[in-house]
Structure formats: C-alpha cells, structure tokens
Symmetry: D2
Subunit: 224 residues, 4 copies
C-alpha cells in the first residue's frame, strides 16, 4: 500500500448498492489517475469481485470471517477475497469488532498470503495491542466521531499524536492511520502532520452530493 | 422459484474461490438450458454480484446480515444483495444459524422486497417454527448428514416425510425442501416422492471431480 | 408454574447487585405469602444459587447458554442452573436473543429435565414460531415498550389478543404471557382479560422507590 | 493476588454443578490454610455469589459480559460480580474469546473498580497484545493442550519462556501465568522456573478422583 493514502470504506450505504459501488469505484480510479494520490477502496462485500475486476484501484475487503477454507455458508474466507482480487483487508472496524485471537490469526494468515492488514482501533491502549500483533497498519478511530461532522483531527488531535507515539514505542514496523469525521483536505493535512500516513474515509465521500468533487479535493490535499 | 428445483449452495469451498465461482455458475447455466431443470445457485458472498451479472441462472444469497440499509462495515444488507442481482436468500443454514427474531424480520423484509426465502432447519420442530413465520420454503437438513456420503433420503426418509406433514399442519403456504448428503438422481427422486419440492446440494457437486456430469445426472433426474 | 403468575425479571439493574438480589427476593417471598399470588423470580445469573437457597419462591434462570455439560468457561449450562435450584428458564429475552435451533434444543432439553420454559417473542409471527416448538409458555413483549412507561396492555391491546389467538391456532398446549411497561394492577387485569395467564415485570418493580408496595398492589390485582 | 499462585478454573464441569462447587471451594480453602499456598478459585457463574459468601478463598469470575450496569437479561455485569464478592476476573479464556475492544474496556473498568485482571491468550503475539493493554496478568495457554494430558511445560516449555520474554519487552508491569494440561507439582515447578508467577488449573483437579489429594500436592509444590 503506497503511502500517504486515502482508504475509502464504502460500508453498506444505499448509495453503493449494486451499480453504485462500481460507479464510485470508477470515480476513485479517475481521481487517482488525475492526482497520483494513493486511493484504496473497500466496496460492499457482495460487490467485491465485480469491482475488483472492473477498476484499477487497489481493493481491500471490509472484513474477512475465516482464515481457513472450509464449508461455511454465508461467511467469507481469506482465500476467497484474495481470489476475488483484494490485496488487503480491514480488520476489526468499529462496526465489525473481532476477537483478539481472531485478529492475531488473521494478521498472521494475511502475512503468509501477502495481503496488507489494517487493524482498526478505538483508543490508545487498543492501538498498542493491535500494533503488538504486527499488522501493516493500525487505524485509530474514536467511535463517537465515526460518521459525524467533526473530524478527529479537530476534535481530538492529541489522541492521534499520542497513538502515533504509543504505537512507535511498541514497534517501528507498524504505521498509523486515522479516521472518523474526516471530510476535507485540511483534515488530511493535519492528520499527516500528526504523524499518520493516511486516513479512512466513508460517509464524507459516499454520502456526498458530489463524491467526485469531495474526493478530488482530498486527494489533492493528500499529495501536496 | 420454479419447482421442482435444485438449489446449489457453493458455500466457501476452495473450488469456488475467484473464477471458480463463475465457472461453476456457467456449468449450472448450461445444464439448466439443456435439461430445463430449475437450478438456483448460491455463490460465495464476494462473488455474488459478478456471478449474477454474468449468468442467466437465478442467484440466491447464501445469507444476509441486515434487513435495513445502514453503515455496517463488512456486513451484508438485503438491499445490497437485491441490487447485486439476487432474487432470494438462504436463511439460517446450519453453518450460519440466526436468531429467531432475525429470521422473522428477514422473512418479512424479503416479502416486501419480492425476494424468495428459504429457511433452513435441522429437525421437525424447528421446521414447524420456521413454517409458522411464513417463508416461501423450509429446507430441512439433519446437520449430522450435511457434507457426508449418505443422503438424508436414505439415512432417514421418515424425517423428510414427517417434516412435510408437520409443515402442512402449520400452513399450506410453505413448501418443503430437503438436503444433506444428496448426491445422485435416485436421492432426488426419493426426495420428491417424500413430498418435497426440491433439494439443496453442495459438496456433492462443488467438490466433484466432474461437477458438470454429476449435476447433469441430477438435473435429468429432477425433470423426469 | 402456577397461573395466573407474575414473573419478575431482576435483569442486571444495579439495585439487584449483591445483597440487593436477596433483599428483593425476600420481598417477593413475603408478598407471595401474604397474597397467595404466584410469583416467579429471575435473579441475576451470579446470584442464582444463593437466592435459590435462601428463599421459598420459584426461581427461574434469566438465560442458559448450553444444554449439554461441557468445559465452557464463563458460560452457563442447563444442569448447573437446575442444580443451583432453578425450576425454569427464560429463553430468548429481547436482551438475549437466541438462534432458532438453540431455542428448539433448549426447549427439548428442558422438557427432559423437568424445567419450565418461557420463550420470549417480539411479535405475532415469532410467537407462532415459538409455540410451534412446544415450550410451556410464550411471552410476547413488543421491544419498543420494554423498560418504558406505557404498558403493552394500553399501547397495543390488540397485539396481545391476536397473539393469544395465533398461538391457539398452532397448539392448545402453550399458554401466553405478556409484558413490557407493565406497572400496575390495572395493566395486569387487562392482560388477563386479553387471554394471557400472566405478566413479565422488571423495571416497574426493580427500580421502584418502594418495590414492596408496587409488587403488593400488582399481586393483589393478579389474584382478584 | 498473592504470587506465586494457583488459579483453579471450575469451568462448567458436572462435578461442580450445585453443591459440587461449594464442596470443591471448601477443599481449596483447606489446602490453602494447610499449605499457605495462594489459591484463587473461579466457580461456575451461577454459584459465584454463594461460593464467595461461604469460603475464605479469593474468588474470581470466569467471565464478565458488561462493564456498565444496564438492563441486560441473562448477562453479567462487572458491578454484579464485584458485589457478589469476586475480586478479579478471567478475561478471554479460550472457551470464551472476547473482542479486542471489549478486553481493553474490561481491563480499564476493572482497574477503576479495583478488580484484578487475568487476560488469557493463545500464543506469543496475542500475549504481547494483551500485555499492551495493561492487565495485571497474562495467562498464555496453547488451546490444543487445554484439557489434555500433557502439560504445556512439557510439550512446549519454549513458548512459555518466550512469552515471559515477549511480555517483558512490552511492559514490566504485567506478569505471566501459564496453563493447559498442568497436572502435578513438577509441572508447576517448571512453570515457575520458566519465569511465570503461577498456573491455571481446571480438569486436572476438577475431574480428579481425589481433587483434594491432587491439589494438595500441587500447592505444596507451589510453595516449596
């Protein structure tokens, strides 16, 4: 994953049902091409393979249930997301919390499979724990700010800086992302100044009246 | 859903990772075209949209997490599977058991959205309960026979007949499917004679050396 | 379980932490002795054995995780609640929803062990499903009214009457309870007139300034 | 928690249903009195309050569901186990895995409430993660050895030593316990030599023909 980066989590918003996912993915592809910004997209689970086959943007899975192939109706295996075209996964998003043992097993399995891992966390101590298991990235997002109007970089820049520092004390191999309420180029600029290597976006782009315009401004901000 | 029918659950077997799902879906499309048999397929979740866009076989989702659109990273909404092209869903498969309240809510939501519902059950009493909530189909599969070598129609034909009768006592609007270990045309013939309107298949086809040959024989058996 | 009955669910309110559970259980014992009303209590899980050993009121478990004895740290088995002195269990409370297959297995296991079962449900269709599995009682509680100020008997008497009728169509062996917002003798009178054989109480008594006075009035109402 | 220590997890074995829990707790009390060994017991959840009121051995909860008091039928709150007499909790036992975010929240809440925390882990990386969240103890138990006949100290002493070292690199404030298959004084001796401050026991004592004799030998071994 090239950094600094924008990770755009499509979540399960109605806007990205069906063709909506592919449309937004194509916007991301264009913005990436025009700005050179590193943009990673996480489409809805059922659109993962279709989107990955149609666009030239790195695709991550929003989640993976199982790290071993087996007969598990309705669940998602690591091998299936890799075969679908994903090159990384989000683990433990606040809307999809995972067991500590599962997180460790997923990180280990992804390392063997060559998939990039982003472990989401909600505070400094959980970020330390995530870092101790050796993922590629820790993405710290205060849950109370997710989906809201105020960026974590405005509401609580201290927690971002302290997370970067705390993770650095555990290991120098894990880099930090942040997110929650991030909506414009200024938020991104502050996030990078605080020591992170990128941001997680979702509602600010997916639910925007003009997702292309919003994403373009942030992508420009990222690479300046 | 046209009956009698074969519902082929791809599960998460390695054989249907990535392009494997589309290949098997195309085999189903061909067998359906050649035999006229009603075949419904349930591809891996991450291949759902891609498969539904590429083949002309009815596609059902192996599962749905949520019946309301909302921001839920890594989960799957009813509207997303419908928009992806699914026309029905499997609910409560033995590998994906659901709460009774969730099953009821899913059935109700699917009815409003025009999606077909198949509620999987493990015995007669659970089949009665499922039927009482008004899905389109109840699919009774003894868990100890799932994925095994002996068909439910051989191991325990009585439980199939009794399920058909018990469901009929609850309502005349719900039809019965069965499954578990079903592997050949003879098993299907017996299943239909016992009063069901079709079978759930999985490993017998997905893991077969020659899935096309196996499915073809069963499709022929279904329509004879 | 002698009917008509009041089932008092202590839940996990701070008022019933530690000795609070035993105090409230003794109030129930006194009210039962004075009025002759049938009162069943469901203390916090960790107080179950202690309360059951100290008072002469029927004690039900708020929940049971497992119906087979096994090594499962932190979970609760059917045999352990029976050995602790419980004579019945609440299954599938809205704050503790269970899988349909688990509900069926628990009902069956309780029948073998001689424990009374109350399956909680949230609407008419779920009540039909619960009844179809043959518990002793179905307790219908609209979730939006639980813990609130308006009794289900006032807010929606029709759903109570319709539940009694719908359950009766499935089987004559299962009786109906109701609950949610029930707070006084008048609510109980209406509940019985609508065809139920009792009510589930919780916050209206547990959080009352004078639980004894509140429960006494309702117990008197129950037996009038 | 006085160290070195034996933590005896009663789990949900049939032997500790009902009065069995109290009987075993009294054996622990006697062995502690005779040997001076520090013994902590974790009775079945429904016996927690009763046992804590009857014996003078430190009692820990096998698990806690919630760290905030609220209306949650069938679940267990931190305040309820503390009020019942518990002075610590097991978190994330292999039979009761928890989300990383929940583990962090429980540790933080226990620290505020003055309860001792033992976080169970399954390997070195998970132990590092647990340590990074600042519990009092990390108890590393290879899952494949739990409940078995071969002690972790025999099967894999290296993983115990490496866990002690790895945890020490994260923080000097967290001490290490181990467990899985520990059955005699020799196993305990090795566990202490490898740098742990105690062991988790379960089946080796609970299911023994003579639990008193088995525990006595291990307690003597602990304090020698």
């Amino acid at each position: 994953m090239r950094t600094p980066a924008i990770i755009l989590n499509f979540k399960t918003y109605a806007q990205v049902d069906g063709d909506g996912a592919l449309s937004l993915a194509r916007i991301c592809e264009e913005v990436q091409a025009e700005t050179g910004a590193s943009i990673i997209i996480c489409p809805p689970m059922v659109e993962l393979s279709r989107v990955a086959h149609e666009v030239k943007v790195p695709v991550f899975a929003q989640s993976v249930d199982l790290w071993e192939t087996s007969a598990r109706t309705g669940h998602t295996t690591l091998s299936s997301v890799k075969a679908a075209g994903a090159t990384g996964i989000l683990i433990n998003h606040s809307e999809n919390r995972r067991g500590m043992a599962d997180i460790e097993a997923l990180i280990t399995a992804c390392r063997e499979e060559g998939l990039t891992t982003i472990v989401c966390t909600n505070n400094i101590n959980a970020s330390r724990a995530a870092a101790a298991m050796g993922p590629d990235f820790v993405a710290m997002e205060p849950p109370e700010l997710i989906g809201g109007d105020i960026s974590v970089t405005t509401a609580n820049p201290g927690i971002v800086r302290d997370t970067v520092e705390a993770v650095g004390e555990i290991t120098s191999d894990v880099r930090v992302l942040t997110g929650a309420g991030v909506k414009n180029a200024g938020d991104i600029k502050v996030a990078l100044e605080l020591g992170t290597v990128g941001v997680l976006l979702a509602s600010g782009v997916v639910k925007a009246d003009d997702p292309r315009a919003v994403l373009m401004k942030m992508a420009v901000g990222l690479v300046q």
